[in-house]
Symmetry: C2
Subunit: 164 residues, 2 copies
């Protein structure tokens, strides 16, 4: 059997994040509905639009590689989103839920930042310049989202602390 | 039923990361054994020692809050580590495995950075200054580990790209 090489790791990683983006797309409207503050609700809806673009960008990456766009079950994002579901169940309608939702969203962003950092590095090394640029574009968006969430985290946790 | 407040979110979050640290402690020796390069193997073993200290720091945080140190199943870390196991199975003994292992370790670090950022913010807002300082100490270590992994990522992926 031929060794599976970096190209194979790269393709597997793309399938993993493709699956993840589609799961996140389904989770965001639920998170928006669960949010108590309008600001957080809007942040989730805005991020849903961005996530749609990010999914399309991955379609372009697969295309650039001449490979079929396909997902592969990603237990990491399943687990991260499951923790978000737990928060939505256990803190439903409570003043503290927004702080919990922001924390859940930040865990999602951090997972994506780790993956897009790796994938863009591998794309560059493999000489897939177009793919690398598309992946770096998404990475920059995820970093900006994480920064915005960090601000909301302070506001929402503050409100929750005062309501306690 | 009384609303569950930020203090409850904080305590739940501590139990989640306590479980995660203990799972990571078990995973690191396996990752060290799977690594092909001595540099990566040593990095995992060094991080195992740090993780032991981080777990002990959490014991002190629980103690400072007058709460029992206990874990709570964290599906996120279970999923993230499961992806690491997949890499170890599918790329066993191959030149590309180190690049995959570094990527898996970075996903773990990013999860921890997200959680410690949130927990230290909440600790401060709740007035648990000692707990906040302990959590920030671990956060700084995780950030340093991620930076070191980023360097290894470039080296290991480079080697894998050349071996292909």
């Amino acid at each position: 059997m031929k060794d599976k090489d970096l190209g194979s790791l790269f393709y597997d990683g793309l399938k993993d994040i493709y699956y993840a983006e589609r799961k996140i797309l389904k989770a965001l409207p639920k998170m928006a509905r669960a949010a108590q503050s309008e600001m957080l609700r809007n942040a989730f809806l805005k991020h849903k639009e961005e996530t749609e673009t990010q999914k399309e960008r991955l379609d372009k990456v697969f295309e650039a590689l001449g490979k079929r766009a396909q997902g592969k079950t990603c237990p990491a994002i399943d687990g991260i989103l499951e923790e978000g579901e737990e928060i939505m169940d256990e803190y439903k309608g409570m003043a503290s839920i927004d702080a919990g939702l922001v924390a859940a969203a930040q865990a999602v962003e951090h997972y994506e930042m780790a993956r897009y950092t790796t994938l863009s590095t591998w794309a560059k090394l493999l000489g897939h310049t177009d793919a690398a640029n598309l992946l770096l574009e998404t990475l920059a968006e995820e970093q900006a989202t994480d920064k915005a969430l960090m601000q909301l985290a302070k506001t929402d946790a503050n409100k929750a602390a005062m309501a306690a």
